[in-house]
């Protein structure tokens, strides 16, 4: 059976900008693959290429074995797309929106209606189904948009930053909705710049930067690549940070990373508890008030920093237009 997505050396240029620069990636059946990267890394461009909205300049891109350039019709029959903006019609009800998309998938009236009812229920929108979507909250719109990408029963769901701009509760609701789909056998490709999102949803991750895949694996594998554990020390007074960093540098690990704003010093270590014990011994010798000392798994932003030397952006700047080159 062909891989869900198979990208090999995909290049896409927009004028002088190289959005995808030889991207290689494989998504197997049964995976939720998260494409993770900062703004401008090429995430959206990749999703648009998989969705047959743009054609790669070089390389090959296959979806269920169908080439996106030569067999776009076959690809379209197998995918559902939810872009960065909720592409729903505000002047139609939730039900009308979904029935419209179902009809465009070639379903007859009866199955369009049945599938719509099912998807509305799945998205938790049954109660709001017959209200105009213009009255929906941001979270409901996103869910309806996700529903629209599902109503054609696609084998592959493409989600481009599905929770950007949502409040925390709506994000969690949407995650639950996405997870329930995968339980039913739909493959998912999602892009995100939220690490916790990739961590909580994805079975596999690809980190991309400057249009290239720089790392791939399960979340656990990627975390390992940044060192096995992290020692994190929080101090009461900001002035003490330098002193603590100096002491921790004696511990067998990476160079300590100082974060002024959270008054924390972190370093990754290969060992475990015995190194923490050593670190504590050094720290006790100082006359410094510590708020917290912890030994923990690395977070994905630390993985990203280790891989790229770049911090992931926490907040996305508002975009006037869908980032064609992003």
């Amino acid at each position: 059976m062909a891989a869900t997505i198979e990208a090999s050396g995909v290049v896409k240029r927009f004028g002088k900008t190289v959005a995808l620069n030889g991207l290689d990636l494989v998504a197997e059946h049964g995976e939720i693959l998260a494409v993770l990267g900062p703004n401008g890394a090429g995430k959206t461009t990749f999703v648009r290429a998989v969705a047959t909205l743009i054609q790669p300049d070089e390389g090959t891109l296959r979806v269920f074995g169908h080439d996106v350039v030569h067999e776009p019709g076959e690809v379209r029959q197998n995918i559902g797309l939810a872009g960065q903006f909720a592409a729903i019609e505000p002047a139609m009800t939730g039900r009308e929106n979904l029935e419209m998309v179902a009809r465009l998938f070639g379903q007859d009236k009866r199955s369009a209606r049945a599938n719509t009812t099912k998807v509305l229920e799945q998205m938790g929108l049954s109660d709001a189904a017959d209200r105009l979507a213009r009255g929906y909250s941001g979270g409901m719109r996103r869910k309806l948009d996700l529903g629209a990408s599902l109503v054609g029963s696609p084998r592959l769901l493409l989600l481009d930053e599905p929770t950007t701009g949502l409040d925390p509760q709506s994000r969690i609701d949407l995650w639950d909705a996405i997870r329930s789909l995968v339980d039913e056998g739909t493959d998912v490709l999602l892009t995100t710049q939220y690490l916790d999102e990739a961590d909580r949803l994805a079975s596999h991750m690809v980190v991309i930067n400057h249009g290239k895949a720089i790392a791939a694996g399960t979340p656990a594998e990627l975390k390992q690549s940044a060192g096995r554990s992290v020692i994190e020390v929080a101090v009461r007074e900001r002035d003490d940070l330098a002193e603590v960093a100096k002491v921790l540098a004696q511990v067998d690990g990476s160079d300590p990373h100082v974060d002024e704003s959270t008054r924390r010093v972190t370093l990754t270590v290969e060992g475990g508890i015995e190194l923490l014990r050593g670190a504590l011994k050094h720290l006790e010798a100082l006359d410094i008030t510590l708020d917290d000392v912890a030994l923990r798994q690395p977070k994905l932003d630390e993985v990203f920093l280790a891989l790229t030397g770049r911090e992931l952006e926490e907040e996305e700047p508002p975009k006037a237009r869908k980032g064609r080159g992003a």
Partner: protein
Amino acid sequence: MATATLTGNKASLSASTFVIARRTFLKFIRTPQLVVVGTVQGAMFLLIFRYVFGGAIKAGGVSYVNFLVPGFITTGIIWQGMMSAGGVAEDYEQGFFDRLRSLPIPRAAVLTGRALADSGTQLWGLTIMTIIGFGIGFRLGGSVANGILAFALIVLFSFAFEWVFITLGLYAGNAQAAQGMSLMLVPFTFVSSAFVPVTSMPGPLQAVAAHQPVTYMVDAVRSLVLGSTENLGHTSGYYVVRALLWSAALVLVFGSIAVNRYRKG
């Protein structure tokens, strides 16, 4: 979605065109601003031309109200078409076209559906303007059948001009730019036979005005509703054939530009 009904084949051109047109139509009737603003604007300008400028304009042979109303209603398709350009730009900008382009439907369906629905919704404005036209003193000079034929022609012309506006909307990138670009079509309404006789214009302008599509369309309508072509110079057939040729040319040229642009995304 293991238990969901299996999807059928590709949606056909006619079925998907209908589904898309329905959405545009529903959006129109459920957005009172669109319905009311367009109508009130149209009515206001019709009254201004009739009662403010009308007294100063000599239409030669016919009363100004009988001259104005067919011209005004025909050029109304351009004023109303601006909203289509805005709507298309909005769909493009907000990712609605991305969703549609990712679906297994014929590429021409989305824009054809739009053009059909927008010409359909123009019927509303056309009807209101026609009623107001009669209210302010317009009278049919020809048969009722010819009047209905003229009305049908206007709807057809609006479909042809729709493709110009759809093209503008696709290239504009956002709704405001689309409205701005559409304003460039306004000279076609004024430099035409719609509001004043072309013969009252200076030479070079007259040459432009006499041969541009809006003038043929206006004169085709006017010759049918006035029931006499002595002030126009040619028969109804002459104008109707030329107006139809222009319409076909607009659909062909702008239709292919628009569909090509949509395909590329």
